[in-house]
């Protein structure tokens, strides 16, 4: 068709901003703009926050995870996560794809004590472990829905919860596609992984990364040119979870199987 642009040359953000500048949409934008597009428009005009000096992310090498559950244990200890097996900032899932194509997934107590022996041992096509945690989305649905702004994205890209401000409505828990949030029964406020914010701002690694015996988790700054994370991003083909939801996760997986959701 004549006059058709290659849409890949025309990024979404720019498209939105261009559209918003049309005079006829001004009225609509006044009303709906802050609701739907506020962050995009604001960021575009102020410069992309992704160019902030530090912008944290994590890489997870699925083929290196052995499902020992040390990361889950370390996370609970470091962050005072309730011990009961209903509250996790990070957990490990085991995927077993049988010869007939049947997929079984489990995560007993979040994998904190490792995994029991696979029952159909002789009948396994492939099997692997997938560590999960908050994806620290760049376009976080939890932040979007919080009615009071108690959960927010910091300049360095980490999504945090202000527990002194959270009203406990749990809309963020509903909005998270990854099941990464829980309601802390002691404070009645939402809680989730912070990338160990208290550690990373001191130049330390998150607890889960620190203890991983195989180095399956790699933490770092997404913009730092010479870093293990950057190296992973150069060398591997990376995937994020549920990319169709456009949450733009900053936790990247290498060797991720299509069965993982």
């Amino acid at each position: 068709m004549a006059g058709q642009h290659d849409e890949r040359q025309f990024p979404r953000r720019e498209f939105l901003v261009k559209t918003l500048q049309l005079p006829c949409s001004a009225a609509v934008v006044t009303v709906l703009g802050p609701l739907a597009l506020g962050s995009d428009a604001a960021e575009a005009s102020q410069g992309d926050s992704k160019t902030a000096e530090r912008y944290f992310g994590m890489g997870i090498q699925v083929d290196k995870c052995i499902g020992c559950g040390k990361c889950v244990e370390a996370c609970k200890a470091e962050n005072d996560v309730p011990r009961e097996p209903f509250y996790f900032r990070t957990w490990v899932e085991r995927y077993v794809i049988h010869n007939d194509g049947e997929v079984s997934v489990d995560s007993p107590e979040g994998g904190i004590r490792g995994f029991p022996r696979e029952e159909r041992e002789g009948d396994v096509l492939r099997s692997f472990f997938v560590p999960k945690l908050c994806n620290q989305c760049d376009n976080p649905p939890c932040v979007q829905v919080c009615p009071v702004g108690a959960t927010f994205k910091t300049d360095d890209g980490v999504v945090l919860v202000d527990s002194d401000y959270c009203i406990g409505c749990r809309y963020c828990i509903q909005a998270c596609p990854y099941g990464a949030r829980y309601l802390d029964p002691r404070t009645n406020t939402a809680d989730k992984c912070t990338f160990c914010y208290h550690r990373i701002t001191q130049g330390l690694l998150p607890a889960c990364v620190e203890v991983c015996p195989t180095g399956a988790r790699i933490f770092g700054e997404l913009n730092a040119l010479a870093s293990p994370l950057r190296r992973l991003m150069r060398k591997s083909s990376l995937q994020v979870l549920k990319p169709a939801l456009n949450t733009e996760p900053k936790v990247f997986y290498s060797e991720l199987d299509g069965e993982v959701r």
Binding site: F86, C146, C169, I173, R181
Partner: protein, 410 residues
């Protein structure tokens, strides 16, 4: 907290398939089911009231004021289940003080305040003002003072002033209809905009909510009108009941069609989530969806209304049929809310497993609290009716103006 953990532990045993570990706790329970149920009744009752004022459906006059008071009684209760459900109710005012404008939920306070203050209270005030003045003249000292306070001292009964009241009511109703649509469409949007949840995420959600709201509101006013006339030992106005039944039938048809459309659309598109959602429908939601919502709550009243409305049944029987149909509709709409709110949390977002909802009896999230919250609006309505009798024959202003214009009220 111990009990809470024990409940979660017992839930673990009833999980089928795989769910994310954090999903064992189901976060929005019965209280959150009540919220869309009650706001739906409010919006529906108001839309019914506006049929009389704006669309001049004269048959519905006996229910006009009753519908307004019903809407008010339920609107006053609407925020309570939400408040009771919050982890920190004492911080709820932050929604007003520091709303996060990108959050659909943050708009609740504003939508609610707009509807309560600018639509319902104002419309009721203008509609009742002349009557309040006249009732005050005949009442004892206490009621006199009370009516004087409610009129805010506005005691002008000149024809111009009364005419102004009428115009004001008309204008407010005009604003009120889109506001009622907003109120409940907005509640639908809270669920429909959650992209993480394939059961909720649907552009039809606000529309379906709206029509189910209209259905529930009409049926509630029909029930209340029928019961109150019986209690007052009056004959129900059959023309009015017929009209209510007709509108209920039409709204029910639209509502059901929309839900079928939603269902067929999902089935035909057959997205990634279709497997787990099908499993959900045939297992965990079988009773509440297929039996309660569709068979008992939609198809039965649909057939009853259609038959009794358009056949030559004796009046007595007809009335009973309407009554039972309206009652079934209430059950069905409650089922609808349940299936949306609870149903949307019974499957894992990993789309690999189902979990359970355990309803408690006591406690703030329990059954008893919810029953209390459903009785409360009726108590409020009782007080409102005592204070502001909604019956046409109680309106002194209307009967006087009718007498003045030479027609006699029947």
């Amino acid at each position: 907290m111990e009990q809470h953990l024990e409940r979660l532990q017992s839930a673990v045993e009833q999980i089928s398939g795989f769910i994310y570990p954090n999903e064992i706790e189901l976060h929005w329970g019965l209280l959150v089911v009540l919220y869309p149920y009650i706001t739906g009744l409010v919006a529906g009752a108001f839309i019914l009231a506006s049929l009389e004022k704006v669309f001049k459906v004269k048959e519905l006059e006996p229910t006009y004021r009753l519908a307004l008071l019903t809407a008010l009684a339920f609107l006053l209760v609407a925020p309570l289940p939400l408040l009771a459900h919050l982890g920190h109710p004492e911080r709820s005012f932050e929604i007003f003080l520091t709303p996060h404008f990108k959050s659909a939920m943050a708009m609740f306070g504003f939508v609610y305040a707009w509807y309560l203050m600018l639509v319902l209270l104002l419309e009721i005030w203008f509609d009742y003002r002349a009557d309040l003045v006249k009732w005050g003249e005949k009442a004892g000292a206490f009621k006199k003072l009370l009516y004087w306070v409610i009129t805010l001292g506005s005691r002008d009964l000149s024809p111009e002033a009364v005419e102004f009241d009428k115009k004001a009511v008309h204008t407010i109703t005009l604003i009120g209809i889109p506001s009622a649509f907003l109120l409940h469409g907005y509640v639908g949007f809270i669920f429909g905009s959650v992209k993480a949840n394939p059961w909720w995420s649907s552009v039809l959600m606000p529309i379906v909510f709206l029509f189910s709201a209209i259905v529930s509101g009409i049926s509630l006013v029909l029930l209340i009108y029928y019961v109150t006339t019986l209690v007052r030992r009056k004959q129900p106005d059959m023309a009015c009941l017929d009209k209510l039944a007709s509108f209920l039938l039409y709204a029910l048809i639209v509502d059901f069609s929309l839900e079928i459309l939603d269902f067929i659309h999902r089935l035909y598109e057959s997205e990634e989530s279709i497997g787990i959602l099908s499993e959900l429908i045939v297992s965990k939601l079988y009773i509440s969806l297929t039996i309660v919502q569709i068979l008992i709550g939609t198809i039965s009243p649909l057939l009853m209304l259609a038959y009794s409305r358009f056949s030559r049944l004796p009046t007595e029987l007809k009335r009973v049929a309407y009554f039972i149909a309206a009652l079934l509709v209430q059950v069905g709409i409650f089922g609808t809310r349940w299936n949306v709110v609870i149903g949307g949390q019974l499957f894992s977002k990993s789309l690999r497993g189902l979990t359970v909802y355990k309803l408690e009896l006591g406690g703030i999230e329990g059954l008893l609290t919810s029953i209390g919250l459903l009785i409360l609006p009726f108590l409020i309505l009782y007080i409102l009716i005592k204070l502001l009798p909604p019956w046409p024959e109680a309106s002194l202003a209307a009967s006087e103006s009718a007498a003045a214009s030479g027609t006699t009220a029947d």
